[in-house]
Subunit: 144 residues, 6 copies
Amino acid sequence: MKLSNSFLSGPSIIYFSRIRVTLLKIYFMSVLVKEFNDYRSRMNEVILSKNNLVMKRLWNLDTNAYENGALDKKTKEMLGLVASMVLRCDDCIKYHIGKCHELGISTEQLYEIFAVANIVGGTIVVPHTRRAAEYWEALVSDNQ
Amino acid sequence: MKLSNSFLSGPSIIYFSRIRVTLLKIYFMSVLVKEFNDYRSRMNEVILSKNNLVMKRLWNLDTNAYENGALDKKTKEMLGLVASMVLRCDDCIKYHIGKCHELGISTEQLYEIFAVANIVGGTIVVPHTRRAAEYWEALVSDNQ
Amino acid sequence: MKLSNSFLSGPSIIYFSRIRVTLLKIYFMSVLVKEFNDYRSRMNEVILSKNNLVMKRLWNLDTNAYENGALDKKTKEMLGLVASMVLRCDDCIKYHIGKCHELGISTEQLYEIFAVANIVGGTIVVPHTRRAAEYWEALVSDNQ
Amino acid sequence: MKLSNSFLSGPSIIYFSRIRVTLLKIYFMSVLVKEFNDYRSRMNEVILSKNNLVMKRLWNLDTNAYENGALDKKTKEMLGLVASMVLRCDDCIKYHIGKCHELGISTEQLYEIFAVANIVGGTIVVPHTRRAAEYWEALVSDNQ
Amino acid sequence: MKLSNSFLSGPSIIYFSRIRVTLLKIYFMSVLVKEFNDYRSRMNEVILSKNNLVMKRLWNLDTNAYENGALDKKTKEMLGLVASMVLRCDDCIKYHIGKCHELGISTEQLYEIFAVANIVGGTIVVPHTRRAAEYWEALVSDNQ
Amino acid sequence: MKLSNSFLSGPSIIYFSRIRVTLLKIYFMSVLVKEFNDYRSRMNEVILSKNNLVMKRLWNLDTNAYENGALDKKTKEMLGLVASMVLRCDDCIKYHIGKCHELGISTEQLYEIFAVANIVGGTIVVPHTRRAAEYWEALVSDNQ
């Protein structure tokens, strides 16, 4: 990670440093998203390999619950997100923020979900909102 | 409540009984909605009369959180409902179901919110879903 | 409910009163159990009538989760009970206490489940333990 | 409860009605406090009669936790109250409000505890705050 | 951790790599168990050194609650585990999984506890189930 | 971090080692406090930069709730701490422990708050109490 910058001098160093900082930031953000997804997949595999039928069916049901119906996917993922936030489950929040991002929810909309979650669930939701905000930044910078 | 029906006989009794049962059901349902709203208003008044500024401002903020913005009122009330369900707060559920009803959410949409809440929050949400379903029937029969 | 006892006098009144008190107690206890079951059935019917597939499947899954497997029904109902207690869901507690009673769990065993729930979940579980104890007495007196 | 007021007429009826309303309100309030305490005592007796040692010792410990120490009783009861509020346990709230009342906490102080609980725990604490406010009024009117 | 493997070549490298990977996996798993236990012991010592009597007695009581009685240790540890899972306390889960492992609970039984916890507590229990599954693998590979 | 100690020998090494261990411990403790505060500030900035009015006002209100009033700051911070503990929010706990430390709460008083939290909230609060105890040690060693 430590790149020599001895060949840079004068105002150019500021310019290049800024780029490097941005690149590093994007790199670390990607790591945040990737690590979450990797651990999730790896452990899901372990759990499914044990062939517990109730667990398997619950997971299928979980997928069904968010499919298009009388309410569309986007609304349902927002419901999943706010529910995860007030229940203060960081991994559930990350998962639904990922889905919300895929489905094109805007930053402004996301923060209105955050607001409802913080009003209903109180300031104990704040630390989870911080981690949610960090994960959102990671997703957004990944896509640039 | 016990009305004499001795003057009724033959098939007409069935017809009138059915009407009476429906009327009584609507009557009791109205009571459910009315009692909830009355108690809520009465105690809100008591609380506000004590002039605690933090409480007052929190309640104003609560109103703001559900106003039209990047997300519309309807979506926000659905968010409020699902959050109340997974946190298993019967009175909060009633309040948001009332708002969802006012804003024209359909029974089918409501039950998809119930489904998300029950999947995320588990079967401990079921008893609250029962009371939510009862309250919804009350609201619907009130409006007929 | 008000029975005339004017024809009773002397020591016999004490004897008969005691029987009456016991009978009344059993009567009220039965009401507690019956009311819980009636409301539960009635509202389950309302919910199922709306044909939300996720809700239906979740309820089937819930039934499966407590069937004999690597662990027997009895152990699983005890697991369901302790989970309901620490999550402080009175109706869920009643349901699982009913099942525990059917499956022959003793009062002493029940109170050891109560003890684990109160230690893990703290004294906020106590009020729910009171209602659980009341319901257990109702079930036991029903069966006499 | 229905007292004849046919002998009253003119402006005096307003005066006496007001007294009657106040008396009735105090009467019902007392009932609220009494019923809570009675049920609590009755069920505590049932639970203790089963001789579960862990339950008994936990209850002793609970008493110890609120005794004078590095912090005084009053502060500890306030801690118990705010903890009960954010955990949304109505009976626990009533118990600690009763203790706070005995120890001379003022209405203004009580509402500042309510404010902290509502900020930390969010608006889902509001319905419990309503019932807490009602119980406080009952205690205050009892003491007049 | 970086072992030179330059002296290996041909098919033997695959064979030895597989052993090394397995050894490394066991090594990391042991670290997971060891780190949990070490931190737990170290901080318990700090807490006990402050001589708060209520804390000390609560911890003794906690030990008593899981001893053989009308229910055996094994059942009680399963109760403790399911309670910890629905309350989503990762460290409590690890502790009780450790005990369940010591008492000879099978993987199939463990996953039926997981299933009850996930049905009662909902999909917000899933991320904790992942970490529970990981810890179980660590315990099992430790014992090989 | 790796300081050469080759120039030390005999009993002096024990003496200096002890100093070094203490210094290192203080260093790591400071890191714990610093990291918490840095992450908190950094993410608060991100959140506030999105200009969601509800979030901003809630945070202002949060500040107001802990100001001197009918109850003093110190009592209110203790209320905030116990509420955070029973709701098991590690970051909230750290924040309020920091405030309690600033306002001069003693270790004995802190552990009485811990005791109330553990009695009300049960042994699932224990792991959070461990992390709270660790953070307190960090704050205390920072100030020496």
